[in-house]
Amino acid sequence: MATIVQTKELLETVIASLIAGVGATAVFSLAIWGGARFVDLSRDGRTLAAGAAAALSALALAVTLAAVVVGIVVMTSK
């Protein structure tokens, strides 16, 4: 039964999907949160906090784009 179902590949797919799918959405949500906070904090004149929010947003966006690149690499390497 194990050879028919390919248990190992199935488990790996489930775990990787959960980490990649939930992780990517969480990180991209963080980028949006940071962007929205940057606008609000800038409007309130809190420059330092706004800068931190912008940096967090940029970092999260970079991680999201890195995840996309990894996805393309996965596709091209098969």
Binding site: T3, T13, S17, T25, F28, I32, G71, I72, V74
Partner: protein
Amino acid sequence: MVIVVGTALAFDFTNGFHDTANVVATSISTGAARPRVAIGLASLLNFVGAFISISVAATVANDVVDPSVITPTIVFAGLIGAIAWNLITWWFGLPSSSSHALIGGVVGSAVAAVGIEAIIADGLVGKVLIPAIVAPVLALLVAGLSIGIAYRMIGRQRPGAVTRGFRYGQVISGGLLALAHGTNDAQKTMGVITLALIANGTLGANADPPLWVIVSAATAIALGTYIGGWRIIRTTGSRIIKMDAAQGFSAQGAGAAVILASTHFGFPLSTTHVINGGVIGAGAGKRVSAVRWGVAGNIVVAWLLTLPAAAAIGAAAYALTHVFGSGALGPVLVTLASLGLIVAIFARRAQQGAPVPAG
């Protein structure tokens, strides 16, 4: 052989317009991209995706049907079964799996030709039936968890900025899905054409798809995608749930993650099952009652029927073709009869007007 290749490309075309919904429906329904732009981009990325890899091109029939029994007539009849089921589900606006239709059609025609021993049972269970259950459930789980986390993180922010952000994100996640779709689905047609060429003696055993096969399969799926299946786009994009941009991003992100993970670990999943599971998960993650379960139920019924229905049509097409012997006459007559039937149905529908709702 020309008829078999033409039929395979016709299937590829229906695969493109049938499965367009998987890639673009959520982007269109949330306003992330205008319909023509979304479909044009998906079409281009499907074309590119078809060139990325040819490693799974011959797995369709190799793993579920004994390749030594395959003849061009079996492939032809299987394709007729797949095209017929794709058109039926498209007619009712139901996003069923083109891959399952193709596998069902080939299995049905092979059984009609040589009997039940043509089926590789382990392959059919392990590579088709189990993934058919896993794909939508996994995507539903990933999308449901994703949207829960996203809402927690951005819940108190201004809706305008959040919606804009997720719409931009959808352009990226939709593009990734389109690329993955092209990589997965165009290869299935390449595999079928290659098998037919091998069965005909045109190519040697274990040959890779020739360049003209890759180019023609990529072109057919891209053209089909560009023409688009608006009925299915409506079902996936707005009939299962009324989605916002965050839900659209979660559904597409979950879909892309599941497809890429399954590609990486060699566990084949249907893109149709994955993205529709993701859409339902993104709806249920917000509120279980947000999902129109009647529509979702109709889709699941179509999924359950896909393999047996395509197999039955494939078997019937083989039996009909075989009546006229093993030459080209059978495929020619069945092709003409199928084309006549399709034209008659479309003409009748055009006279009647309104499309049939999915649920």
